[in-house]
Symmetry: C2
Subunit: 199 residues, 2 copies
DNA sequence: TTCAGTTTATGACCTTGATCATAAAGAAAA
DNA sequence: TTTTCTTTATGATCAAGGTCATAAACTGAA
């Protein structure tokens, strides 16, 4: 995340996207650094018959799509607005200059990449070896740990994801997620209130 | 990858490991930067009933296990010697100092992380949405692209992986890989000579 | 307050890749 | 040059999760 003043100084612009609009697609050449000002963005892939895999969901303050700026490759996934959103766009060369001038910011990005790698290593291992309930608990715990408002000291965390999103994040089908979530509720591993999942 | 003279200057030591020996395991606190001098190392996870997932295989010149040094988390996977190996070990703090003093090296690592993220994004999407033959071709092409000796201009690349390793990299079973590989040979997508796969 | 769209829910059936068993070919070690 | 271990191979069976169909609950816009 780059602070507003540095973004402005580097001449970043705030662009609006409508719900469902695509920011870039798999295979595109990366030209900008993207940082969410408001709204939610997802990065995803589709296989030939349309099945979706969600690589990540990014909200206020989060950046996305930087990796190819560091290593010079095409986008491996699409970016799409989940809700109406406003996004900071900073051209690639200006972004790299900001990093050069600010070693601390550079270090922050390296650390962000490391954390994303952790998430992906976890997910790919879960998806390739674990069964539905295990996968779901894992991702719920991950979201809880990383999005838990530290002020909200409640031990119960509300999952702000639909069953479909949960499915597309874990490589499962909606029906499977629905059934697994119910099973997990019976086992006391989570709570369902007003159709929302709490963990 | 850090050059030999910088490694020596930072007082890195060369440690020997026997085939099958473990360098560190999931959950351990990271203390060193690791770089392969000779031999091969794999990073992997096991689920409760022993099924393995291989996160990556690293040979001469490659480093591994750095992400947790940048963002301060425990190892998400084990590291194990596939063959007898000699590995450079550099204590975490000395490694970070090397990066501070050498922005170019720091940038190189950021770029390495970005590339690994690309690999993982590709694999997790493949594993969660694509069928066996597709997954296998994808990883074969990835290895071909990234390990192809540029001098060996031959368009045929020899895969130096067993069917079992291919299975553990793609979340499949050996039998499935064997059958899929044969199917792919029939379709002319690859070649089998002396049990080795060429693509 | 009706209507369209989204999300959750549930049952029946099916398909793919896992599992299990067994064996042969190669490679490595004794 | 046997013996042991690893790797590849192949058939039979099974089960988990996908697929399909249908519907109810909820949301939000007209």
């Amino acid at each position: 995340m780059i602070s507003k003043d540095i973004l402005l100084e580097a001449e970043a612009v705030l662009k609006e996207y409508k719900r469902g609009e695509q920011l870039f697609k798999e295979g595109d050449t990366p030209r900008y650094y993207y940082q969410v000002y408001s709204g939610e963005i997802k990065m995803n892939n589709h296989n030939d018959d349309g099945k979706e895999y969600i690589q990540g969901i990014f909200d206020s303050g989060k950046s996305f799509g930087e990796p190819p700026l560091f290593a010079d490759f095409k986008y491996p996934a699409n970016a799409e607005a989940i809700t109406d959103a406003r996004i900071w766009l900073l051209p690639k060369d200006k972004f790299l200059k900001v990093l050069e001038k600010n070693p601390l910011i550079h270090h922050k990005f390296t650390s962000t990449l490391a954390l994303r790698l952790y998430y992906k290593a976890m997910m790919v291992s879960e998806i390739s070896t674990q069964e539905p309930e295990h996968r779901i608990l894992r991702i719920l715990d991950y979201f809880k740990k990383n999005n838990q408002n530290t002020t909200t000291a409640s031990s119960l965390y509300k999952i702000e994801l639909t069953r479909q999103q949960l499915a597309d994040l874990t490589g499962l089908r909606v029906e499977t997620v629905i059934r697994a979530v119910k099973k997990l509720e019976q086992k006391g591993e989570l709570l369902i209130k007003d159709r929302k999942i709490y963990r």
